[in-house]
Symmetry: D2
């Protein structure tokens, strides 16, 4: 495609962390033109007054959500609370505008599950039925032709990509999957809540949502699509004192032919599954990826272990929760939806240290 | 016992983090008199020159390890690398001095396992055979009468206390235990190594020792003592960017009568197992303990979960790795060995925030 | 005095960080009996439900501020927003109860300054006139006999103790004092505000209140009391990504006889000024104290420098902002007001690392 | 110039933090071709084995410093300890290769000062005399035509850019400048030293080098070039628990016409001095820049304050110490030396949060 192609982009709700991440990436995107960004509370405010990191690089002013004409855009990203995108979707899609929702409105096939976990009636089930789930590596074709994409949750991205080759090959006990995950505090969003204060979350580690987290039903449903065996997932998220980064330690019990596979064969399953993927790095068997090796980048890294050569396989997955786990993945979807190179605007290197 | 009772205490190798923790606790201990502290490299140095936190509170000077007469002490703590305590043990025990080793020399019944993992021949198997394993809550009587105590590793403490009521009751599949643990950086000791730099360990999370960690054989052997079923433990430690604190998320599959037990019954198992323990806090079912609620204190907290009411039980355990996970547990042993109140010198409150 | 003496203590507003610090210290205080703690919002809640660090150590329940009868107490600490203590003071003092306010109500002699900076009319100027300023080392006698103590601000404590020997000796230019200070995030209190989120305050450093901070008028007035020269103080606070700790770097230009003083003579000024003080550590000339050497303790450390032997003297001061900078200093005042040993309940060692 | 222009770049000593930063920036630089990177210890190692953040983005292998033929390069960056660049400089410059030294070899006009502070005899005084000091905004023309550039120290960059407009205008007392600065831990480099461990540097703040730091003579000499008044600088660096970022709080006493200048006039001095600079952001008067607003970017931000309208002006300066304070500034110099757009490869947005 032509280097001059320029997608007109709107962002609704750009005052949170995924919003500013979209701005960071789209400002440097060779084929995107940031056209409009809206906020209910901040209409009229310059973006760089709210995010000093943008000073000198972004002249945009927040438009009023109520009055902004988003139909001028080619695509609109929703970096909003759950429920906003589905409200706008009928009008925008009717006007030919594409939608990428970073919230949960379009993540579920079974809307009853959505409604149970998000406590919202779904307002456009017909559009939800046609929306594509935005996990590029597992759903590339559907995304290319979708008008609406529901971007996956951050944890679900790591769990799906980590379990996929195993479930696909049918070599693990799908009924006893255990995902023990840790996220940096930015995963909670930019919310003034006590638990996320520096003084509360700093020098501290704890589990949360053990008995039920919204990313559990999302992941379980998507894992179920990968196999005919009954999937049962235990998912324990933890809060760890870092700003960005997500680390998932995934356990599965090898069964059947899996039990007799060598480490090389297990490794080959993953290498083959993600051959040619620009943003998945299958590390050598036995590696221990650290989250900071992905900080600020769209890369996700995977490494396999088989402790004591036993019947348990351990898959380690790391990503930046705000990039591959959210805004970066969303831009990756946009690239596909508009026929752009998949890596456009996404080649920023990880920041290390 | 009399309030005047005063145990003469020596510390060998007090330049690391467990050493300074012993100092912190023993300085305020009502029945301990810090008599001698030795260091190979720092002989002649005032302790408070190395640890400014001790200024104004501790006048001690490091003695030379080579020449210090430790037989003047009633008890000697070894806060040294592995292998030092066993070298001194024959002479000191012959002189009637008791030994509490914070390293691994006296943790193992099967010395072949010790030698395999610590790459050292054991020099006093006879003493090792008589040493008590210093996990007070599971081994109180043996410790009371022991002349040598091998203090448990930090991770093993959490795993044993977390799994004990389940294995004892015989209600879980001992062959598929998964312990997913995270430790603050002080767990690595005071060592000038690249991986533990602020710039490397900060804002970062990673697994380590996945294919083999020294605390694995120690724990597996001790868990095996709790049940006649064959124990197989998967143990994945992680490094998390905090100074102190350890969080273990322990998974087990309920079997047999365990499957039909209610949450209340499961909770009762733990409450009963640790009834009257001063340093174990069994929190209400479904709690999510955070590590900082134990910071600087000898308290260990446990909470149970049963996600989706399924067949997996999740036990969360937190402690301060340097206190209940090391120096505090060692002082607790000393109290028992000398007939002191078990909580003497150990009632410092957690530091929060 | 008798070991049995027991002061009945009340705390108003114990839900913030200074409140929980008071609890931490008073729980272990040999001569204090925590009798009542009140909260507007949390009446009926167990304290350890709000602060899990207190589990197993504190059975108290928050009383309702509106109905609690504080006149049963010997002393009441106010760990509240500014303005609460002065509302209660007339009634309590009439009932013979002593008051220690950790907020600003009783810090100012000139109430017009209080009213200007705290935007509150002072409701009991007569009591304010009789209140003692709670900086023990500079005001011990007044505190001993006071019925009301206004505890100093955290920054003001470091600035006054750091400048006092210099101003007293009349050897610096009082008109050009520069105090460049950094505080951990707990200094902002336990408030759910965006600026203090882990994600905002972490891995970040910034100045705040440069053009005006409430601790400036408080300090300037107290420094003015130390000299007949006109004092002019520049005070720049900074927020640094740590939980606790305060570091003040104080600059002054030597004048008159100060210019010809040797380093030893300058050092002697400080050593003599704080001779015998249990909680002030004058370190050797040229030392560089770190904040963590005071973490969790009531110790404040001071060190002097004279860069390039020029006419500028630099005084470094560190403390734990929540202890010597607030709750610890308040307990120190209580000890004096009730004839207890000044160090009672305050000998907890710093937590290091 | 042509978009195809491609500068062949070598890096000597790419195993430290400034080395990996150069790699991060040059990998994305449109006009640079990374040709060779050398290391004494790591010859033969793939770069991405040492820096996993480079996996998938960089195929380079460390060459042996002893045998690598750097004369193939157009420019060589020295990300080495002090003293290495000057050893290679005669041979490389004779071969027409340009040199950018990130260490101190070419920072000093007065080599006696270099030798005193760096304890090394200078081996090529003739080349040092012709080298340009790489502070682009103050020395652009000399850099354009230089064959050797000595990149400034990180602290000196902030101090020079912050004081320059004031000294140039002659409105402050040059004899009493006070610079109170804080740096993230990466400023110490990637060195396995005890002081920089997570457990030592975390949750801690302290001054260092108060009586003498190498950046003091460098800065004092450069400030002296800006004025005929005698300059005397007090410089106090502090270590703050963050990975990246530098914050300088600069104090100066207004004199002469400075005393009667309005805030607007003071602000105009800075705005005019840095008009058109791509990497200097003069923020509105009274702003409080935070370090993270520059994280990972080449931007430096400045803000002015005049507390209480008195005779002290306070200049706040922030930058990322590894970028504008080191590797980014070096690339900016390279761009100038090769006639490239000054911003080429340097437009990466700050990473926030």
């Amino acid at each position: 495609m032509s280097a001059e192609k320029s997608v007109k982009v709107g962002i609704v709700g750009g005052t949170g962390y995924t919003g500013v991440e979209l701005l960071r990436m789209l400002t440097l995107h060779p084929n995107a033109k940031l056209t409009m960004i809206t906020s209910r509370k901040e209409a009229g405010t310059r973006l760089d007054a709210m995010f000093p990191s943008l000073r000198g690089r972004c002249d945009l002013v927040f438009s009023d959500t109520a009055t902004a004409d988003l139909t001028q855009c080619d695509v609109v990203f929703y970096a909003t609370p759950h429920g906003v995108a589905m409200t706008d979707a009928p009008k925008l899609t009717a006007a030919g505008v594409k939608i990428i929702d970073l919230a949960a409105d379009f993540r579920f096939k079974d809307l009853a599950v959505f409604e149970q976990w998000y406590k919202l009636p779904h307002t456009c089930p017909d559009l939800a039925a046609k929306a594509a789930y935005g996990l590029v590596e597992l759903n590339r074709d559907a995304i290319k032709s979708a008008q609406i994409v529901g971007n996956p949750g951050c944890y679900p991205t790591t769990m799906q990509l980590g379990y996929y080759p195993l479930l696909k090959a049918g070599i693990v006990d799908a009924g006893h999957l255990i995902a023990d995950c840790a996220s940096g505090v930015s995963g909670a969003g930019k919310k003034a809540e006590m638990d996320y204060l520096f003084t509360e979350a700093g020098d501290n580690f704890k589990a949360y949502g053990v008995s039920g987290h919204r990313h559990h039903p999302e992941t379980q449903a998507r894992l179920q699509d990968m196999t005919t065996d009954k999937v049962r997932l235990i998912f324990t998220p933890h809060l760890t004192p870092m700003i960005r980064g997500m680390h998932s330690t995934l356990y599965a019990t090898l069964t059947g032919k899996g039990l007799s596979m060598t480490n090389d064969e297990l490794q080959a399953l993953f290498v083959n599954a993600y051959q040619g993927e620009a943003f998945i790095d299958v590390m050598p068997f036995g590696s221990m990826p650290d989250t900071r090796s992905t900080r600020g980048s769209n890369m996700l890294r995977i490494a396999l272990h088989r402790p004591q050569g036993g019947d348990t396989i351990v898959v380690l997955v790391v990503q930046d929760n705000l990039v591959k786990g959210s805004a970066g993945a969303a831009v990756q979807c946009m690239n596909l939806m508009f026929g752009l190179p998949e890596t456009a605007g996404l080649l920023t290197m990880p920041l290390s240290p």
